[in-house]
């Protein structure tokens, strides 16, 4: 295969290829045992808060038809541990790192962002879309005004490229996307998980201890593709598409829908090297002149 430039520019940061990981499915400690994280365009790390979060009670995982529900609830060790631990290790490995940032309140988001601003993290991804925490998260992502307000406050604190991750659990995702664009976001990623539930037929109770959880995996892909298509036409920001990408062909579908890059999530829980496999499949697909022509035509819109 001849050398082929797959690099993309996302908010001023050059990724060597358009593939990253979806937050919560990549571990700087464990995934790096399976592949070199600098092989990907970027790696997106799991949400970090100002202080350690315990997450939700277990069971936190339930399989569904062609998908899975999770209610992890953003368990994390806090931003200080992240900066000296996972971030340091990933930067030392030469990775382009996107840190997913979460909080229960504007102040909590700001505290994390101000600490990360002084580091060599490459990009920030504001998680305003986690369906598994009682306050914060999705509360910001379902209200265009709150979302914009948060982005404006964060924007004041940092010049790091700012990705805002949107939730699909809204009536009009384009409105939220436009709102965060106006507030100063540099890129948009979507979709986070769809709020779902599974009932245990023996107990009559939800399988997840938290009751509800976020649905991901191939089952959500058509919803994700539709929303990427809508948002990429509603805003002029680069869009990072995700939701059930299992193959290179799935990734291509998101690019054709209007995403500039893609993130691999649930597939990596099934197979830790999935992002690398998907990248090589996508690379092969992009060697086709007709496919490239389709992509070029789409970008012109």
């Amino acid at each position: 295969m001849k050398n082929f430039d797959l690099s993309v520019n996302i908010a001023g940061v050059t990724w060597k290829n358009p593939v990253t990981t979806a937050s919560g499915t990549f571990s700087g400690q464990y995934t790096t045992g399976f592949y070199d994280p600098s092989l990907l365009g970027a790696v997106t790390t799991k949400g970090v808060a100002p202080l350690p979060w315990e997450g939700n009670p277990t069971p936190r995982i339930a399989e569904t038809y062609g998908g899975m529900l999770n209610s992890v609830g953003l368990e994390n060790k806090g931003v200080d541990d992240y900066i000296t631990g996972e971030l340091r290790a990933l930067k030392d490995l030469g990775a382009t790192v996107i840190c997913n940032v979460c909080g229960h309140s504007v102040d909590e988001y700001l505290e994390v962002v101000s600490k990360l601003d002084g580091t060599d993290v490459d990009m920030l991804e504001l998680n305003i879309s986690c369906p598994n925490i009682s306050c914060g998260g999705i509360g910001f992502g379902t209200d265009a005004n709150l979302a914009a307000e948060l982005v404006r406050e964060v924007r004041k604190l940092t010049r790091k490229p700012l990705i805002v991750k949107l939730t699909p659990n809204v009536t009009d995702i384009s409105a939220i996307a436009r709102s965060v664009e106006e507030a100063g976001a540099d890129a948009i990623s979507l979709i986070n998980t769809l709020l779902g539930m599974r009932i245990d037929l023996r107990t009559g109770q939800p399988v997840l201890a938290n009751g509800t959880g976020g649905l991901s995996g191939p089952a959500v892909k058509p919803v994700a593709v539709r929303m990427v298509y809508q948002v990429s036409r509603a805003v002029s920001l680069p869009v990072i598409g995700m939701g059930g990408i299992m193959t290179g062909a799935d990734a291509l579908e998101f690019l054709l829908a209007g995403a500039r890059a893609v993130a691999v999530g649930t597939a990596a829980l099934i197979n830790p090297v999935a992002p690398i496999d998907i990248l090589s499949e996508l690379t092969e697909l992009l060697h086709d002149e007709q496919t490239l022509e389709l992509l070029r035509r789409n970008y012109e819109h």
Binding site: G24, T25, F26, S27, Q29, Y30, T31, F34, K46, E54, G55, T58, P59, R60, I61, A62, E63, Y65, G66, G67, M68, N70, V72, E75, G217, P218, T266, A268, L269, I270, N271, P272
Partner: protein, 289 residues
Amino acid sequence: MRNNYRIISNREVSEGVFEMKVDAPLLVDAVLPGQFVNVYLPREDLLLPRPISICDSDMENEVLTLVYAVVGEGTLELSRLIGYGEEPTVDGVFLEIFGPHGNGFFYDNSYGPRDEVLLIGGGLGVAPLLFAARVLADGHFVADMPKKISAYLGFPAEPWYLREFEAFGVHVHAISDTIPLASSGGRVGTVVDLLNTEFDTRGLSSEAGTCALTCGPQPMMKTVASWCEELSIPLRASLEARMGCGYGACVGCSIEVKADENADGTGAGLLRRKVCVDGPVFPAEKIVW
């Protein structure tokens, strides 16, 4: 390590409990007792791998044994696969396996030398103890072989694998919740009933250099843990958890464990640990039952 392995046999050893043997030349010398593997199902809608504990690894014949219970759609699917050793017409169904994962029972060398090791298992938890019996019997992973290995095994109905344990020289004591067995004096009951009798008759204690491993239902292990604590017998317990990835990324199987105390007695708080990579085996005194 993720590979396809040919299934040799897949048989029901007790109601709803299946034993699967696979040709696994790449795995047999890489696995440790108490570890598990992720098993992938040949149906795309069943997305997640199933974490299955390793029941035995026969390095000589390159055969890996997995024991699982049919508890849902995935394990039901697994139970339908046919091995080439059972049907001459079957060329050999391949099973995709990724692993091993987890720390295993002998995660450090502090487990020997011992005079006696107790293997305390309930239901499906009996399975990984067989592999532990094998390595204890042949001196792997333990500085000195124990003088004696005793197994206390509880079953909901018919017992299984008693002969397999005996083949490793284990003194086997079995009891069933429902069926009177000769080895338990014709009574029915639980593993804890067995242990209590044993305690009465031969006065087990840590001074005799006894240590124990357990795997089974959580309430059983909790009782075993307090029994061992009372007798100052060091115990390691293998926990079960609903997992997503099995390799540390998804944080689905996170639990709280007790932290080590500092020398001045402070710092003994709770820590979050992942069953898949930090366990599944933990020292019983660290587990929040």
